[in-house]
C-alpha cells in the first residue's frame, strides 16, 4: 500500500514536470524536429544529467542498487527508435 502511494506520488511529479516543460503540446514536440524550439531536448538532457550523476554518486556510496538495465539489442533498439520517431512527429506525444 505504501509502495502504491509512493508510485502514485512519483507519477504525479512526473506528469507535472512534463506538463510544465510543455511536452504535452503538439508544437513543442514537432518543433524540436524542425530545430525551431529545442525545449524538449533541453528538458530531456537536463533530466538525464541530473539523474545519471545523482544515481552514480549514490551507487558510489553504496546507497542504491540498480534495477535491471534495459536490454541492448542493437537492431531492435534502432528500428524501434526509427518507427517511434514517425509516430512522435505525427502525434506530438
Amino acid at each position: 500500500m505504501a509502495g502504491t502511494l509512493v508510485t502514485i506520488f512519483l507519477g504525479v511529479a512526473f506528469g507535472f514536470s512534463l506538463n510544465k516543460a510543455g511536452l504535452t503540446k503538439y508544437h513543442k514536440i514537432v518543433n524540436v524536429f524542425r530545430f525551431t524550439d529545442m525545449a524538449v531536448l533541453k528538458f530531456m538532457m537536463t533530466a538525464l544529467v541530473v539523474a545519471m550523476s545523482g544515481l552514480y554518486i549514490l551507487r558510489g556510496f553504496g546507497l542504491v542498487t540498480f534495477p535491471n538495465i534495459p536490454a541492448t539489442y542493437i537492431v531492435g533498439n534502432l528500428v524501434g527508435g526509427l518507427i517511434f520517431g514517425i509516430g512522435m512527429a505525427l502525434t506530438g506525444f
Binding site: V30, M45, L55, V64, G81, F84, G85, G87, L90
Partner: protein, 181 residues
Amino acid sequence: MKFILNYIRKETWSPYVAGILLGIVGILAVLITNSLLGASGAFENLAGMIGKVLAPTTFDNMYFNFIMPPGISAGVILLIGVFFGGLIGAATSRTLKWGKKDSANSDKQWKMIFGRQTWKRWLLAFFGAIILEYAAGIAGGCTSGLAISGGMLLAPAAFLFIAGMFASGIATALIIYRRRY
C-alpha cells in the same frame, strides 16, 4: 516563498528547471521503489489483460506470458499518477480546458498544418499512437521508459533509441512541413 508560488503558476517553465525536477523524480524512483519510470509498458499490461479475456489462445505467447505479463503493474499505477500530475500542472497555470470549445483540438500549429477539423486530430492521434506503441514494443521502451530512464543508467540501448528517434522524426517533419520546414 511568493516567488516560488508565482513560478508554479507559470504555464511554461524553463526546461532546465522542469528537467531537474524530472531528474530528481527519476532518482527517487530507483532509490525508493527500485524500478524505472515508464509509460508504454503500462498500456501493454492493460492490453494483455483485455486480450487474455477476449482471445486467450492468441495472447498465450512468449511476449505476454514472460516479457510483459498482464495485470495492474506498478507502471499502470504510475500512469494514473501521470494523468493527475498533468491535470494539476494545467490547473495551476489555468490552462485546463475541460469542456471548453476547441478543447479537443486547441493547438494552433496543428490547425495550420492539418486543418481545423477535430476528427482529423483524433484519427491521426489514434493511428500515430498505434505506431508509437508498436515501436516502443520493439525497442523495449518509449521516450520516458527507455530514453530517459535507460539513459540515466547509461544503458547503450537508450542512446541507440534516441538516435533512431531523432533521425526518423526529423525526416517525418520534413515530409509533413515540406516548404514550411
